[in-house]
Symmetry: C2
Subunit: 278 residues, 2 copies
């Protein structure tokens, strides 16, 4: 998927929104912002959004002088989600269709917000997603494919959200699952440290993409990741970033996401806020 | 008032929103957008927002090759508002406090939106503004000042909205009112053509600011405007653009506006969407 220049105001807003919650000094933020504007004015919009995200995060790291500006934010997010893990676990265990409930919860986790109403946002989103049918629903086919797969690759997205991914993997209980995180810090995307923090290793072999783009850029991933990717019978891709990078690929990929904006929603032919298993 | 870099995503969104409704060709829009990003990356944020708006509109005109990209939009907006003029007039005439009702209607007109739900947005906003008290209310003092003023200067903002300004001026019925519009096309701001279209000349002497910034930049206005400005006993300034340019001035200025965003709302110590006579 290419970059739509109409997305740029929203991308800049995400930076401002996240930057507010980091320890990047006030003046530094304006400098970084100006550098992002220069970069965005020049970049090739025919590339995929993760290429842009990777470069933008490089600018943020270089100008802030902070290797992981969202470190605390991610930690907080993991902690908050772990606090409500038991509640989610019960929701799944008491449900008549545990796979579908866990799947919907994992998708709902994709909308995790770092605002002051953090918990409320998540719980409201979860209740809505659980009560609505999926706007595009290939979940039955996904379930069948997992059942006969020798190897499953699950590509994670954000910290916090991975608690929900773990719940889904516990429900799936497949013996040979790889869970991929980013090689190093980028935005609020989950890294190995986050995966270990939520004990993802109990349900999957944790690997990294070998890259620190906030989405998959096939030409930039490591050989090790590529081997797992090529051998996987089923790939589960979480969130918009991974979708934007993988939507053109020919593999057996299932995309789990919420359309967080009108551009993605229009692209998928659904409404903003709706969830899909695609 | 200075420029907050946090406002830039919103400013870019406004451009995209308006540009969608003009006849600027698709490719041209991306070129213009890239040029706006370059300009915004370099500009001095200690200037007032109208300085930025003026330069941005110059870029849009130069790159689109269209002197007034929003011409049709303004015309449509004037027409739509004139269509519902009688309804507003009756609302004022049947009200127990005609001045306050006309004042609130004029402020509500400041939120005129060009989206598909145009009419609904306006009517909803009007109903809300009429039913709520003003968040900051210097309307009594304004009424008294107008009563004893020899000369009143009313600085207009957008096309369409000026129909509501005219209704307020009809209600005030002061014998010596100047109504100022922009010298030439800038954004959807009202020009002389718009003022004539709604027959503003029946209730005021229509003048221009001598400048085409989307707000007052004192150092750029014409001598003629400056003379009227200096001699006016009361100045009524409509909208955020004029507020941003005049908020530091020492004259007897009343600002009529709705806080359309959190930055302006925080600056005024009110909530987003609230109306003020300041």
């Amino acid at each position: 998927m290419k970059i739509f220049y109409e997305c740029i105001p929203c991308i800049l807003n995400s930076f401002l929104h996240l930057a507010e919650k980091t320890n990047i000094g006030g003046n530094r933020k304006e400098q970084i912002f100006r550098n992002l504007l220069i970069y965005l004015s020049q970049m090739d919009y025919s590339q995929s959004p993760p290429v842009m995200g990777k470069k933008m995060q490089k600018i943020i790291r270089e100008f802030s002088g902070i290797a992981d500006p969202y470190y605390e934010l991610k930690k907080e997010s993991n902690l908050k989600m772990l606090e409500i893990y038991n509640k989610f676990k019960c929701k799944i265990l008491s449900s008549s269709d545990q796979f579908l409930t866990a799947l919907k919860l994992a998708i709902a986790g994709n909308i995790i917000d770092f605002g002051p109403n953090h918990k409320i946002d998540i719980e409201q989103t979860i209740d809505r997603i659980l009560s609505e049918p999926l706007a595009i629903d290939h979940s039955e086919k996904l379930k069948e494919d997992i059942a006969k797969a020798n190897s499953v690759l699950y590509i994670g997205d954000n910290a916090g959200e991975i608690v929900m991914d773990k719940l889904l993997l516990e429900t799936i209980a497949h013996p040979n699952v790889y869970f991929a995180v980013r090689e190093s810090a980028v935005l609020n995307d989950a890294t190995k440290e986050d995966a270990e923090f939520v004990k993802m290793q109990n349900v999957a072999k944790v690997i990294t993409t070998g890259d620190n783009a906030p989405g998959i850029i096939i030409k930039d991933v490591s050989d090790d990741f590529m081997k797992v990717y090529q051998n996987a019978d089923v790939i589960i891709s979480k969130g918009q970033g991974n979708f934007e990078g993988l939507s053109q690929e020919e593999k057996n990929i299932y995309f789990l996401l919420i359309a967080k904006c009108n551009i993605i929603a229009n692209h998928l032919g659904i409404s903003k806020g709706q969830a899909v298993v695609l």
